[in-house]
Symmetry: C5
Subunit: 321 residues, 5 copies
């Protein structure tokens, strides 16, 4: 089944309920309902809109999907959009989870994502005294879980960058390096689109303009903001390093060109000098005593070889070959 509704009373799990029963539980004091929709579906969304009295603009956003991460304050409820990132064959796949948090309910709608939030539910249910704080705590736990999942992915990007750096200086193919750097930059862009707007949004969940329903959770949201700032700082730092690495790679290409040119010239010299010698003994002067010598030919060939061997070692020592 695609919907998972659970009611909680004073921090304790009452059990799963049917979607049609939601409004009954909402009416009970000290009770809140946590609904997880596993895949976006217009019909379900409409049912939820009615049950919880969601704001039409927020519902519209949830229906369309492809929102930027944000936290919108509708007075007595919050609408939160989070990006779920999953490594893909060629880059990062972006999933989305939309969260509606009201005074006595929490509704999550997932799409294009395989990651679930069972672990979040387990963590919350394991701490009844915190769960008693209600939807704000669940919201915190959700956002925290999403943000925590970003760290290993970003670490992977850092590792990838380091391996490209190694290749740049170890003489790897500059074409592959530049392609890899470009690809990394694209992935980093996806990351930045997930983190930067969320950081901005979470910064409004503590401090002077805290929304009503997050009142008691300010320290927790500051902690999330701190994690996001760390991510953001790392992203900026990778970004900066990629730009430098592209410039450095260009320098490497020029250096390589330089070396190619020298090698070409060295090989050219190994052919040109014997050609000159051969040209000399191809001259038609009547009086060229060497031409009459018995071993003139052999000696000349020997000289050619000797000159080339000499040049070869000379050029090798000068690192042209």
């Amino acid at each position: 089944m695609l919907i998972n509704c659970v009611a909680y009373q004073d921090g304790k799990r009452l059990g799963e309920i049917r979607p049609e029963e939601i409004h009954e539980y909402l009416a009970r004091p000290g009770c809140f309902v946590w609904v997880a929709v596993l895949e976006r579906d217009p019909a379900v969304l409409e049912q939820m809109r009615v049950q919880f009295g969601l704001h039409p603009l927020a519902v519209e956003d949830a229906q369309h999907g492809h929102q930027r991460p944000k936290i919108e304050d509708y007075g007595d409820s919050l609408f939160v959009v989070l990006h779920l990132l999953e490594p893909d064959s060629d880059g990062l796949r972006v999933g989305e989870v939309d969260v509606f948090a009201g005074p006595n309910y929490i509704l999550t709608i997932r799409s294009h994502a395989e990651q679930g939030f069972q672990s979040v539910r387990a963590r919350c249910e394991a701490e009844p005294e915190l769960l008693r704080l209600g939807p704000a705590y669940v919201l915190y736990a959700l956002v925290d879980a999403v943000v925590d999942r970003y760290f290993p992915l970003l670490d992977a990007l850092e590792t990838e960058l380091e391996s490209i750096e190694d290749r740049i200086f170890a003489g790897g193919s500059p074409r592959e390096n530049v392609e890899a750097l470009y690809g990394l930059k694209q992935k980093l862009g996806v990351f930045r689109h997930a983190v930067a707007p969320l950081l901005e949004a979470v910064n409004n969940l503590y401090g002077a303009r805290t929304p009503r329903i997050c009142a008691g959770m300010q320290d927790h949201f500051r902690d999330v903001s701190d994690h996001l700032q760390r991510l953001n700082q790392t992203i900026e730092s990778i970004r900066d390093t990629i730009a430098t690495a592209i410039a450095v790679n260009l320098s490497m290409i020029s250096l390589q060109e330089n070396e190619t040119m020298k090698r070409l010239a060295a090989y050219g010299a190994l052919v040109a000098v014997p050609t000159l010698i051969a040209g000399i003994y191809g001259m038609n002067f009547t009086n060229m005593p060497e031409l009459g010598w018995k071993y003139g030919y052999l000696v000349t060939m020997g000289i050619m070889v000797a000159v080339d061997i000499y040049l070869f070692y000379k050029l090798r020592r000068a690192k042209w070959l």
Copy 2:
């Protein structure tokens, strides 16, 4: 006809009216007038200035056109400038729509644009309970429609960028790539001039300093602002990618130069080595036994060919050819 005046009463359409009758309808309580001028015209603008009592500075701006997108608050009325973007044979054409929104009227003046706002009118008339909110709702619907039309155009730019990226790495002509990137950047500039100032302006339509006539529409304008932020983020991201792509393309040019150089050298070797051999057998030594051999010539030619074949395979394996 170039003017289209319609009066509305309590969210319902009363029907088209003549421009001269406008002031009569403005006097009726609960009634508002929606005038659409299809092409800027000084005479019409003057008539409207008198009928609605528009601010002279705003009228002057509307007369000159070529304004940057903005929203100006004149206390009891707003003057809004929006850019309409339309794909053109070589880039993006910029049209303009100027909107005057007062407590009981909305006036739109279009210029250099083919897009109409019939769909907006239809949408508004289909939702009488929202239309009852008056000009503020119509203003929202207009801005929202303009902004929504930006998305497919920006998607097209993204697609164009991706196809250039593919060409860069697939070895397309670097000259064409750099030209395409430059052209894309120009188009993006047009886009940025449409979006960035509008975002800044819309941000003043909700929050602490909301103009009086937008009072009830704050959530809606925040939604528009959110769309504009999404556009803006995408624009910045494309901008950044174009800069990187130009740098990467330069790397590709250098790499190509490198490869050209190697190919040239390889072909040069295929000519230079046989030339050396020919030079050797052109020497005039008396005692060069090979010269007297019956098949000396053929064997020498054979050696030349063999050496070239050997070199060819060697060079091909080294990716120089």
Copy 3:
């Protein structure tokens, strides 16, 4: 004469007065004096300082000239510095106009500029009901006139940039292109120094911290600010485009190098291949039947030409020639 003093009463011109009479008119209620000094002169400035009681620091600035554009609020008076830009043989010449605006006087001091403000005076005198607003309106008219004169100059820079762009892609001399881009950037810098500080300053003439004497003119100064923002945006956009154009031009230089290299190699091949053939028939083998053929020489020459023609077409098709 270098000074031009005119007194106005209730928006109407009373006529020219002598500098010595200024204080008499300043004493009359509803009267204000507009003094235009056509070329900076210490003696005149000292006279004005006494007549109007100007602030010593402002007078010092006006005496030295070469100020950055600014608007300084001295409580009951404003000191305004504006840059006048005039196209020059090699760039833009920067003139300056300093304006002192008090409750009942306006004093303008021009230097290094040929542009006059007769048109501003004419415009003001043509609208008595606005002129009645006093020095604030005249100040607005002056600033507005200066700013309006920036537009055609900036348009000229844009046109210049476009023509350079065309040359870059049409294969114009990269050396001239880079020189032209550099020159354009210099001119743009002059422009930016005129516009950016003025924008910042004008933004303080409306909104929360409006100086007393500009109280009734806020909408007008917002309009000027809007024009300045448009200029500023265009300047930033040109700046950005120049940077990209320089990068693109560098790519073009590299591409051209690439093409030069190919052409060189192609011409080299047209010489090297016949040289090889000649070398072959220069060999001294006893048994080279072709050497004895009657038309051997001719045929060989024909082969050389044929090979070159073949290579020529091959290379041309590969765009190396």
Copy 4:
């Protein structure tokens, strides 16, 4: 032992105490406890959490480590994270010290660092009148000590940059230069991650929003902030210089390529010209009087050598060789 607990009364050292006794001393008025944990350890941390009543989120951060530098205000206590930098075989090693500062205690937890804070303790104990100010003073002394240790490290980076600069202009290996610049940039990144967030955080320890426990130490923390700003400015300046140096190094690579090309061409000329002369005297014209001259061969060889000597000096003077 890994824990070091000392109690102080009115600025005087009472002596070391056992961790179990901490709460007794905390209860005494005018007494504060300074605990230094020398290496992070979950069990010890849990004990401290209980003894001092630390905030769970702060404890969690201290347990995980790898935080960004920050100062978190928990009302009656502060949680401070500082980075300790130590030069390493290949770069900078990042250690961490976490500080909990409450009204009557200070707790420091070190990890991955060899630097101790004995000198800080000694300095504090030497100034009883300042130590009487309590934990706020100790916190200042700790932060100040950490920041002061950054200066010599940053000086070392500056010296390294200068030596690279010298190598760039003195014709050092561009490959090594670019590698060194890249490595320097990496180290600078580590530095920036230590300094920038700390600066931001320390700026909240004086001025309007000073935390309660730092109330009397504002001038001191402003002084620390000033040092951090100096560091930050130097970091930004090095960063900027590195970027320029990479660009300059690329120019040097291109120049070197240019010179290589000239040298190659010069050597080529020294071979090509004699080859041409040899070719001429290899022609088979019947009537070539020189061929019959007695010293024709020697003279020709002499001419070849003479031409090469002439070319050599000519090319050397033109700096091609």
Copy 5:
């Protein structure tokens, strides 16, 4: 002597006093003391600390020196650090002057600088009515003097930049150009470190948060701030131009490479074509009528020369030579 103490009463100079007498004069109403320490000295500094009751942190900063420019407000006194710039054999030397300004004293401590402030003292003493304003006016006069001395130095940098620009486009040595640009950038960095923090600091001496002792001098400090802004703008503009100039210089290097390549190829052609002709007549065909002609050799040589002359003019016209 290294200390220069002068007492002033109601804006008039009372005469030099001995350092030991300072506290006597401080006690007199309407009297203030101006002490100039010509070279930093710990003993003198300690004496001054006692006499004026200076803040220990400020004294510590003054003792260490090498501070960034700043203005620190200690309630009833200000501590000001200014950089003195002096052109040096290779760059700019940075001196420092530290100023302590209290309600009735001003203390300046110079170090590493040859510039004195006699002219400031003379200017102040020449205007008793301003000097009566006390230490605030002297502080202004000092800061103003320091800032005014920046202008000619910055003008010199601008002139230097212009001469480099000329050399870039006039074909000067790119290696020297890039070195000169780099050196200029270094000097500009020193300048920026002197100006930018001072601007920030001076901006706090007028407006809402003016320190008590500067209360009556706001217009004057705004004037200084304006000068600093002008300097800052010029610095940013030079910085920007240097970056562009480095990029342009790289383009010039590439262009030069291009031209070198063409010249090489041109010279190569002048040798290769005659070599081919010589090769042709070196062929051993029996039937080559030209070989038997009486003037065959001469004609051939003539053809070689003619071809080269033709090529030479052709290549020169194509600007390859």
